[in-house]
């Protein structure tokens, strides 16, 4: 299981990256994250929805209620333009982190240690 700090830190880039592929809704997002991480990231409702609401307030995503065929209503989220940009920024940052970690975990990291 991922640590709480990591879950918190990764929630925004994950949501942005998922929504880059098209609109989605809460349960779908949770399920996708769970599958992508092989069960490592099990998001709760208490975690996801506030993140979504915060991002919406910050103008990164926008929501709309959609009436389904079975009569139920569902709230869909999709990226805004600002969200797309933020997603790219996140992507660069995480790739940097990823590269750095990969080098460190490689056989010859060329480190200068005091």
């Amino acid at each position: 299981m991922a640590t709480k700090a990591l879950v918190a830190a990764s929630s925004k880039p994950l949501v942005l990256s998922i929504l880059k592929h098209g609109r989605s809704y809460g349960y779908q997002i949770i399920k996708n994250v769970e599958q992508l991480s092989g069960g490592e990231l099990a998001w709760t409702d208490a975690m996801l929805y506030p993140v979504l609401h915060r991002m919406e307030r910050d103008g990164l995503i926008q929501s709309e209620w959609v009436k389904l065929d079975n009569g139920r209503k569902r709230k869909y989220y999709q990226l805004t333009e600002a969200g797309g940009l933020a997603g790219q920024a996140e992507k660069r940052q995480w790739q940097k982190v990823n590269e750095a970690l990969n080098v460190l975990w490689g056989s010859n990291p060329h480190l200068e240690l005091g």
Binding site: G26, Y27, A46, Y49, P50, V51, H53, R72, R74
Partner: protein, 893 residues
């Protein structure tokens, strides 16, 4: 497949949980979608709908609070901590609570008024009673060694009759100090006139000041009681004869300055040198002193060998161990060594009593007390009455608060539904209590100020308004007011908080607040207390009235008593003064006597020769009079004759009927001789001239004791004048002028005997006034409580009453319906209260030797009064309930 699972209902439950947690409906709707999506997945895995729903919900419900908090954080513009996680001390919302409370109190004006009035009336009495109690029980505590000082009193048993004296023979103090271990010091003090007479006139040139606090004291007295000497030396001031120590106040009165050391003053015809001035002492002492004359001024008569009679007040200071019991154990040995011989001769015995200094003032008065005492009965009855009053007040408060809470069931129900916690609700109710307590406190102080003059008159304490409104007193009132309020609102608050909102809102009129057992007990207690108090008032009134109007055996009306100063200049001219008086047209008779008839008498054990010639020693009271005594005060001679007015210095005495009867001389009293030794120790026989009817000297409720009346023109401390009733006012003015012509410079000090006799019953009258005051207040408060209860009951049964009226119940029928229960309770209270009051008044009456026959009257009247007042109150209120239009009651739902 029908499993009985209703998804829609289950969802409703789920939503409600989240609403209660504080989530907003929009958010819930969104999560609901999530729950349903997840549920569908579970169902695809083969779970039943119910299981799928439960598992799906579990995720959102199991940490619903965290869910809500996260939502709050994400959406709130004000702070990150959601309300349900904020730590708010309940009292921080107090100002707001007080505001709400204020609105409630205003809304129910009458109930609030009753609450505040009930509380403040009884609190103001409590405050004054407390001041009185504190004053009465703190006497003599200011003396430095108060805990180790004892006054010695003595109980004589002679001829099977026991008398207790507040003073003891002269040799006791020096001999006890010398011989008994454990006694550090002993001092004696006596009235400067005679034994108990501590009134004296001070002459400085032509200036004359009288004081009734003048004593002769042992040299060690000042140091013993730790007097603060402004000038002079405490150890030496009273050593020499003819020296005098005065209080600062008296010095200023005499000389206009407290620097009086070395100045000369004349008292009772003797010159004194002032050798000390002491700071004025606290006046709450059983022995207030203005001036002290040195003991050595007076010849040491009987100083070392007179072990019976010749009494002086004697105080002992025990050593540091203060073991009074050990000292007492040594007393019988002391008695055997020094006193037994004397008492064996008289055929009696003596028993010493050690009275702790601080307790003297409330102890019973023994014979020859220097000053009147406070009344322990009054103090403790007052204490009990105050406690009862507080009890009634608390009950009243509870009843009113219960009534109030009934009206508020709906409001509290709504508050609870909207999420008020118990803590906040109780705080809200507490705020109301606090507000009531505050107002009650303010009104209490106001009432106390209004009652102050009355209180001062009743208690004899001269309390000023600033002393009344001292900080401790004010805090006392507010603390007590809040305390009583809080104590009494515990139950109603508990009551109101235990309402189920659903009952409060839906089926109000069927809801029961509190068990009737408790409420009924409260009413019974209130009724009982009122009943006991009213009975007490009636009996005390009857007895006081009885003793005041009892036939004293002589004609007390229009009898004027002039007090004659003990002064040679006066005594010399007294006979001519009496002569002049007897010529006045409005004077029906003039006589003189050593004692006032409102006072006490001397007692001694004279010898008689009975008709058979046997010598008898018997205890008698003694009054010395002139030969016009019997006629002037209107006594009846029942046997023999009055004194023979023509014989000068007649050797004759009179007896009263009791003296003749107890000695078996009735019918032959004139054959009895009184045996006496004149100043040259020659035996003299006085004949008994006659027997007069029994008459009371002092209070009328004591049995008349054997009395002998002796002719003695030299003991004229009081001149009695029988006046013509029509001319009283003119005559007193004329008498004063005559007095001034005879005795210039002396105060004309007179009193009408009937008034002076009436003043003997001040204590009983004050007690009566106190009881009356308290019972009126108790009844008043009980009535308030009844009002509260009746309005409560009629509110509870509002609908019932309305329906009864609709189906034809009469007005009277409804009144009976509402009051029936109260009357039952009143009967029960009577059954409890009457025996209690019977026991208490019997006990009180026991203090009087002669008392009224206790009959059913006072009890019946008390019962009627109690019934009357409560029925009246009930009627007024039930009438209102009974007259209400049924539709008003019924349309509410």
């Amino acid at each position: 497949m029908d499993t009985g699972f209703d998804l829609e209902r289950a969802l409703q439950g789920w939503r409600r949980t989240l609403v209660q947690q504080g989530l907003e409906p929009g958010h819930i709707e969104e999560i609901e979608g999530n729950v349903l999506d997840r549920m569908e997945d579970y169902m695809k895995d083969g779970l039943s709908q119910e299981e799928a729903f439960n598992r799906s919900c579990a995720k959102s419900l199991h940490n619903a609070e965290e869910l809500a908090s996260e939502f709050f954080k994400a959406t709130s513009k004000y702070g990150k901590t959601p309300p349900w996680k904020r730590k708010i001390p309940a009292f921080s919302s107090l100002p707001f609570q007080v505001k709400i409370a204020w609105r409630h109190l205003i809304k129910r004006k009458y109930l609030t008024l009753m609450h505040v009035t009930g509380l403040s009336v009884s609190l103001s009495l409590l405050l004054l009673a407390w001041i009185y109690f504190d004053h009465e029980t703190s006497f003599d505590e200011h003396f430095k060694n108060a805990g180790r000082i004892y006054r010695l009193s003595v109980e004589y048993t002679i001829d099977g009759e026991t008398d207790t004296y507040s003073n003891v023979p002269k040799p006791v103090a020096p001999f006890m100090k010398e011989t008994l271990p454990g006694i550090e010091d002993a001092v004696r003090i006596k009235g400067v006139g005679r034994l108990e007479t501590h009134t004296a006139a001070f002459w400085v040139g032509d200036k004359r000041i009288t004081s009734n606090k003048v004593f002769a004291a042992d040299p060690g007295f000042l140091a013993f009681f730790n007097y603060d000497l402004l000038s002079g030396n405490a150890d030496q001031a009273l050593l020499r004869p003819n020296t005098l120590v005065v209080s600062e106040a008296l010095a200023i009165k005499l000389f206009g300055t407290s620097l009086a050391l070395g100045k000369e003053v004349k008292i009772l015809g003797r010159e004194f040198e002032i050798t000390g001035v002491f700071a004025d002492t606290d006046d709450n002492t059983h022995l207030p002193v203005d001036a002290l004359v040195s003991w050595n001024t007076y010849p040491n008569e009987g100083e070392l060998d007179q072990w019976f009679g010749g009494h002086v007040y004697t105080y002992l200071l025990l050593d540091e161990e203060n073991d009074v019991e050990a000292v007492k154990r040594k007393v019988p040995g002391f008695y055997d060594q020094y006193m037994k011989k004397t008492f064996d001769r008289i055929g009696g015995e003596a028993h010493f009593i050690f009275q702790p200094l601080t307790g003297i003032y409330l102890d019973p008065e023994y014979l020859w007390e220097p000053y009147p005492h406070g009344s322990q009965t009054t103090v403790y009855v007052l204490l009990v009455v105050v406690i009862l009053l507080m009890l009634v007040t608390c009950i009243n408060y509870i009843n009113l608060a219960t009534a109030r809470s009934t009206e508020r069931v709906k409001e509290i129900g709504i508050r609870k539904t909207l999420g008020s916690s118990r803590r906040h609700l109780s705080f809200q109710l507490f705020a109301e209590t606090l507000l009531i307590a505050f107002f009650a406190g303010v009104i209490t102080l106001l009432l106390a100020v209004i009652l102050l003059p009355y209180f001062n008159q009743l208690s004899g304490i001269n309390l000023g308004i600033y002393a009344l409104l001292s900080l401790p007193n004010i805090s006392f009132v507010f603390v007590l007011s809040i305390f009583v309020g809080s104590i009494s609102s515990i139950y109603p608050t508990y009551q109101i908080l235990s309402f189920k909102p659903i009952h409060a809102l839906v089926r109000r009129s069927q809801h029961k607040t509190g068990k009737p057992v408790l409420r009924n007990t409260l009413i019974v207690v209130q009724y009982t207390v009122s009943l006991v108090l009213i009975t007490a008032v009636l009996v005390v009134f009857q007895q006081t009235d009885f003793v005041k109007n009892k036939d004293v055996g002589y004609v007390k009306d229009n009898l004027l008593v002039i007090k004659i100063p003990k002064d040679d200049q006066v005594t010399r001219k007294l006979e001519s003064f009496k002569q002049v008086l007897s010529t006045k047209p409005y004077v029906l008779g003039v006589t003189s006597a050593d004692y006032s008839l409102s006072d006490a008498t001397d007692q001694w054990i004279p010898s008689f020769e009975d008709p058979k010639g046997t010598i008898v020693e018997t205890k008698m009271d003694l009054v010395k009079v002139d030969k016009d005594f019997v006629g002037t005060i209107g006594l009846q001679v029942v046997e023999g004759n009055d004194f023979n007015k023509k014989v000068v210095n007649e050797k004759a005495i009179l007896l009263n009927e009791t003296a003749a009867r107890e000695n078996g001389w009735l019918g032959q009293a004139t054959q009895v001789k009184f045996l006496y030794e004149d100043e040259n120790e020659n035996p003299v026989k006085y004949r008994v001239a006659g027997v007069v009817n029994d008459f009371n000297i002092g209070v009328s409720y004591n049995h008349v004791r054997p009395l002998m009346i002796v002719l003695d023109n030299n003991s004229s401390n009081h001149v009695y004048l029988g006046l013509a009733a029509q001319e009283i006012h003119r005559s007193t003015r004329d008498l004063e002028n005559t007095w001034k012509q005879h005795f210039p410079g002396y105060e004309f000090d007179y009193e009408f005997l009937d008034q002076e006799l009436a003043s003997l019953y001040h204590r009983e009258e004050n007690f009566l006034k106190l009881l009356t005051l308290f019972s009126v207040v108790t009844i008043f408060i009980t009535c308030l409580g009844i009002i509260g209860l009746v309005s409560y009951v009629s509110l509870m049964r509002k609908k019932e009453i309305a329906i009864r009226k609709l189906v034809g119940s009469s007005f009277l029928g409804i009144v009976v319906l509402l009051t029936k229960n109260f009357i039952k309770l009143q009967v029960l209270a009577a059954c409890i209260g009457l025996p209690i009051s019977y026991y208490l008044v019997q006990k009180w009456l026991g203090y009087f030797e002669i008392r009224i026959d206790l009959n059913g009257g006072p009890f019946a009247i008390a019962l009627c009064l109690c019934m009357f007042f409560s029925l009246l109150t009930m009627m007024l209120h039930t009438t209102r309930a009974a007259l209400e239009r049924p539709v008003t009651a019924l349309r509410s739902e």
